[in-house]
């Protein structure tokens, strides 16, 4: 839930992606490095028609599916890479961004979603350092700063304070926004710098919009009962005054 608005704005307003030509050279590439954000990404993919019917998503298990709890690479559907092993997505992005420049493709951007807990992984910073060094200004990193990971609050586990400054120090243009405010997301995504990769630190709330799940570590991964599902839908509908 912490990623929903970010994905919604990206997919509906910014992402260059032709659902009839999913392998187009000039598409934007989305890399869901934080694998647990995959299901939120499917919702956004559904909204823009990449997933035409929710039934395509199935039960996220077993042979022959396209959609799983953590993305499994399928370039027919704009799923550029598999995820699940945290800390790998930014290195893919560096390779893709470098290759795009080598092909003189100046149109495509590479969007990478990282978790703030994921930033504990050293490999994130290995790749970040190189993205800055190589001045890969076609990379946009979005850090889902929801302050929670499996064992609790990030500031108890590995503080990672000065998140924006960390990315700046690695050679990025960096900005911090409220990751649930559409206008701030829109403004952040419309930025087009040159000569540096770009990092958006999005302050978010895990379980946003659902009172019983908001900021609750146990809802890092949990299953909704029918009752809780109905409650959640009512709350989201009420808060946003929208039809779901």
């Amino acid at each position: 839930m912490s990623l929903v608005e970010l994905l919604a704005v990206l997919y509906s307003e910014y992402l260059s992606f032709d659902i009839n030509d999913p392998k187009s050279e000039f598409r934007d590439r989305v890399i869901m490095s934080k694998g647990q954000g995959s299901i939120a990404m499917y919702a956004a993919m559904h909204r823009v028609g990449i997933i035409k019917d929710l039934s395509e998503i199935g039960d996220l298990l077993g042979d022959g599916n396209i959609y799983y709890k953590q993305t499994t690479r399928n370039t027919d559907y704009g799923i550029e890479f598999s995820s699940g092993s945290l800390g790998q997505g930014l290195a893919y992005a560096v390779g893709v961004a470098w290759a795009l420049k080598k092909k003189n493709n100046r149109a495509s951007k590479v969007y990478v979603f990282l978790g703030d807990g994921e930033c504990d992984e050293g490999s994130v910073w290995e790749a970040a350092s190189l993205a800055g060094h190589l001045q890969l200004d076609n990379i946009v990193v979005i850090i889902d700063r929801n302050n929670l990971q499996i064992d609790g609050f990030t500031y108890d586990i590995n503080r990672m304070d000065m998140m924006e400054e960390r990315w700046s120090a690695f050679g990025f243009d960096a900005v911090t926004i409220d990751g649930h405010k559409i206008i701030e997301i829109d403004r952040a995504l419309s930025f087009a710098g040159a000569g540096k990769p770009y990092a958006i630190v999005a302050n978010t709330v895990k379980g946003k919009g659902i009172s019983f799940a908001e900021n609750e570590p146990e809802w890092h991964q949990n299953v909704l009962t029918d009752d809780l599902y109905n409650r959640a839908i009512l709350e989201i509908r009420g808060n946003n005054n929208v039809a779901l």
């Binding site: 499994t72 690479r73 550029e80 890479f81 598999s82 699940g84 092993s85 790998q88 930014l90 290195a91 893919y92 992005a93 560096v94 390779g95 893709v96 961004a97 470098w98 290759a99 795009l100 080598k102 092909k103 490999s123 290995e126 790749a127 350092s129 190189l130 060094h133």
Partner: protein
């Protein structure tokens, strides 16, 4: 396709186990601009920096990122090779390899230099003695281990012309003895009989141990022991056919600069077991320990990987049953 005339083969043999990488990738990238070489602060050692030009990418001392980055480059339609020292491009980047090659099946090519005992003077950290074992357990990958510079050249060329993922493991130092002197039809996945004096013993060897084994059977021949040396340049896929065809020989020996656990010997044993072949197999290699730092020669001697030691081992097996 490169034309391998006598002059080129001579040049290839003069490159050594690291120089051959830049020499070949430089030539191949001129023929196919999709070929890229990314390297982890080893560009000078492998002769890559000048020769690759715009087709080269320095990724710094970051082997995990190296694998991820070439996966991204491969995703965009290039044919990327990742070059680093063998211990670091394998175990250090194991999880990246698992995802990129095992899970996604991306056709990246990994080249690990100084595998085995050649950098033994630097200690266990710098020796890849476990890389085959780790890589064998990852699906999709082809594991190749050339016997000399010319076979290395053939393997690099073969890898550059297929979509499959590869790990090419380079043993030895700067002076590599010649096994292949003339152009030949190289085929991935095939073992190759490189010396044959009889069928008392078959030796499955890989990397620099092919040469040691050929030397050993010359000594055995003087004692009337007939042997066959098979160069197992491909460890995965393993040539089941050739192993089965020599399974009636009373004694099989494997020789490799790798732990006896999980390496070539284990791959041969898997085949023998799967086909219910009752052949005695003795594995010569590193005896499930990490060596203390020592010279290449001393380490080869310590682990029984010199021609003399292989000779003695086989004589003892034949006549003293030990």
């Amino acid at each position: 396709m490169l034309r391998y005339d006598e002059g080129l083969i001579g040049e290839i043999h003069a490159q050594g186990s690291r120089g051959i990488v830049g020499f070949m990738l430089g030539k191949l990238s001129k023929l196919d601009p999709r070929i890229i070489a990314a390297y982890a602060d080893v560009g000078s050692r492998f002769g890559l920096i000048q020769i690759m030009g715009e087709s080269g990418l320095q990724v710094s001392i970051a082997e995990q990122s190296l694998v991820g980055i070439i996966s991204g480059i491969c995703h965009e339609g290039f044919i990327p090779f990742g070059v680093a020292y063998a211990p670091f491009i394998t175990l250090r980047a194991a999880d990246q390899i698992k995802m990129s090659i095992g899970e996604m099946g991306l056709g990246i090519k990994l080249i690990g230099g100084s595998a085995g005992l050649a950098t033994g003077d630097l200690g266990a950290a710098s020796m890849a003695l476990d890389d085959i074992a780790m890589m064998r357990a990852i699906p999709n990958i082809m594991i190749l281990s050339p016997a000399d510079c010319f076979e290395a050249a053939k393997m690099i060329e073969a890898a550059s012309t297929t979509d499959a993922p590869f790990y090419i493991r380079l043993t030895g130092g700067n002076n590599i003895p010649r096994i292949y002197n003339k152009d030949y039809d190289y085929r991935i996945g095939k073992g190759d009989v490189v010396a044959e004096t009889g069928r008392d013993v078959v030796i499955y060897a890989t990397g620099m141990q092919v040469h040691s084994s050929i030397k050993a059977i010359e000594m055995l021949r003087k004692d009337g022991i007939g042997c066959t040396v098979v160069n197992m340049g491909s460890i995965k896929p393993i040539d089941e056919e050739i192993i089965c065809s020599f399974a009636d020989i009373p004694l099989a020996v494997s020789a490799e600069e790798h732990n006896v656990v999980g390496g070539l010997g284990s791959a041969v044993a898997d085949v023998l077991a799967a086909h219910a072949m009752h052949q005695k197999l003795v594995k010569i290699g590193i005896s499930d320990e990490y060596p203390q730092p020592d010279t290449y020669d001393n380490l080869l001697n310590k682990y029984g990987l010199t021609p003399e030691k292989i000779y003695t081992k086989i004589m003892n097996l034949l006549f003293n049953d030990r």
